[in-house]
């Protein structure tokens, strides 16, 4: 018996197995983030690496310069538009997934999630082909007699359309995971109590889908404010958001302290909305999820 206990104690899981992963992250994740924080408070530079004296100039410039206010506003407006558009478009798909039988549900899930496999660069390229000056949409318009070419590329609209499509799978996943309380049985119950299909939707299904809707709005908002590739390509260098500004200061003007400051601003927005989404989720789960 004593022997058995000794043997079983040898099985105690060794926590030190986590150390290699932790060291790697300390070196390649934590240290870089700390150096962003440090870099944000150095004097502006034009040569990249700098060990200049510390200052809060970058931060005051970023929050007082109307240009950067515009960049922050652009970032927020873009993310809001994308979050709302994706959530509205994903809603019927997510609802259909929730209400369907397992076989149909799987097919719909695969159809709506597998575009995630396609790199965002390739997907953005697809949108260049669709929305470009000689793309699908403008060709179709001129075929119907509209001479005027719509400049999707180089404007907010092109970025919103492309990002909406690229983030649609995330919205479908987030929403269907938040639709746990919706069931055909509840709709049936409402119907037997005298609700017509439309009233049953607005009184039962819609309120029960709010956790999923909120989850999707927050998730897509948060990933949209940090999107880089699509705003860069679809914006054609004429629409500025935080991510594109961070990249151009880091690699073109080589003002690393400013890039780091903008990164901190982005991180603050990111953190704020992540915290809000966590709080919202808590509130919903406290209200009780039965099924």
């Amino acid at each position: 018996m004593g022997n058995l206990i000794v043997n079983l104690q040898l099985l105690r899981k060794p926590a030190w197995l986590m150390v290699p992963a932790a060291i790697l992250l300390a070196f390649a994740f934590l240290l870089p983030l700390l150096s962003v924080a440090q870099m944000a408070f150095r004097e502006p530079s034009t040569i990249g690496i700098t060990d200049g004296p510390y200052t809060v100039e970058n931060l005051t410039q970023a929050v007082s310069d109307p240009f950067y206010w515009g960049v922050i506003r652009n970032t927020a407006v873009l993310a809001l538009c994308v979050a709302v558009a994706t959530t509205i478009l994903a809603y019927p798909v997510a609802l259909l997934i929730t209400l369907s039988n397992p076989r149909i549900r799987n097919i719909l899930l695969i159809l709506s999630v597998s575009p995630m496999l396609m790199s965002s660069v390739a997907q953005t390229f697809g949108w260049v082909v669709i929305l470009g000056p000689r793309g699908v949409v403008n060709t179709a318009l001129s075929y119907f007699g509209v001479d005027h070419t719509i400049a999707f590329i180089g404007s907010m609209s092109g970025i919103v359309i492309a990002l909406t499509e690229i983030f649609l799978p995330y919205a479908v996943l987030a929403m269907s995971s938040g639709f746990g309380r919706i069931s055909p049985g509840l709709v049936a119950a409402a119907r037997t109590l005298g609700a017509n299909p439309v009233i049953a939707f607005f009184r039962v299904t819609l309120p029960l889908s709010m956790p999923g809707v909120l989850l999707s709005l927050f998730l897509v908002f948060v990933i949209s404010i940090s999107a880089y590739v699509t705003p860069q390509v679809m914006g054609g260098g004429r629409v500025f958001v935080l991510a594109t500004q961070i990249y151009s200061h880091a690699t073109i003007t080589l003002n690393w302290p400013l890039a780091a400051t903008l990164a901190l601003l982005l991180l603050a927005m990111f953190g704020l909305f992540t915290a809000l989404s966590v709080a919202a989720r808590r509130r919903f789960s406290r209200r009780g999820v039965t099924q």
Partner: protein, 263 residues
């Protein structure tokens, strides 16, 4: 399902799915176009764009970089992530919870910030634009997945099966090889695949830490799209999507086969 959903949800969902698949469809069509600039509708049918992909040394070089980095990432992230997942089962250590959160935290960090942050550090170490730095950077963002998939497969069984093996007289190493490893194999294999695919597709961090010497394929693709978008890019995009899809299908096949054999 009620008639309402039948007549409203289905048509709406089909439209949304068409929207979702439209870039993919358009790229596929354009990749066979005979004209040498992007235009719609296509002018003719040809395979030349696909041949063009393989004649472009930029693409081939970048493919080799992405391929080697992807394999390195898969191995490193899976090894470190699996070890961490095994270590995280220790319940009597108060650091475990904290370390688990730490390992998962890169998932919460936008790539644009991670890219800048890594550039700042690796520039000082003069490591930029090497395959090593790509592997390290991408391991940071893929290790959480490896940790999660292995943890998930560890949770599907009770550690009492290991205790049972010990009681039956197996040494700790034998237990690991004969009991633990087979049980976590699905998690480890999906970690390998995910690690490779995520690294292969990643563009933002790579933009910061690579340059002229060792750009990854997404970086080169992005540069081409911004400079000269032509049907060869479409052909390359189609090939990349095909590759990801094939890998996923293959893995699915292997796993469902195994599930059938087990049942």
């Amino acid at each position: 399902m009620s008639k309402l959903s039948q007549w409203t949800l289905w048509p709406m969902s089909i439209l949304v799915l068409l929207f979702l698949w439209s870039p993919m469809g358009v790229i596929l069509i354009v990749s066979f176009d005979t004209s040498n600039y992007l235009a719609f509708p296509p002018q003719g049918f040809t395979w030349d764009n696909y041949i063009g992909v393989f004649e472009n040394s930029d693409f081939i070089d970048a493919f080799v970089v992405s391929l080697s980095a992807g394999m390195g990432v898969a191995l490193l992230a899976t090894t470190a992530g699996t070890f961490a997942a095994l270590g995280a089962r220790s319940t009597d250590n108060r650091w475990v919870g904290l370390l688990s959160t730490f390992i998962m935290s890169p998932l919460l960090m936008p790539n644009i910030i991670l890219g800048l942050a890594m550039m700042l550090v690796f520039a000082r170490l003069q490591l930029l634009d090497t395959i090593t730095v790509i592997v390290v950077a991408h391991t940071v963002i893929t290790m959480p997945y490896a940790f999660r998939t292995t943890t998930a497969s560890l949770q599907t069984y009770d550690s009492s099966s290991e205790a049972a093996a010990r009681v039956l007289g197996a040494s700790p190493f034998t237990v690991f090889r004969r009991v633990t490893l087979p049980l976590i194999r699905p998690g480890v294999v999906s970690a390998l695949v995910l690690g490779f695919l995520i690294s292969f597709d990643e563009s933002v961090i790579s933009l910061f830490i690579t340059g002229r010497e060792n750009p990854t394929l997404p970086v080169v693709l992005l540069n081409y799209i911004e400079m000269s978008a032509d049907p060869v890019i479409a052909a390359l995009s189609v090939l990349l999507v095909l590759m990801s899809a094939l890998i996923m299908l293959l893995i699915n096949k292997i796993f469902s086969l195994r599930a059938v054999v087990r049942a």
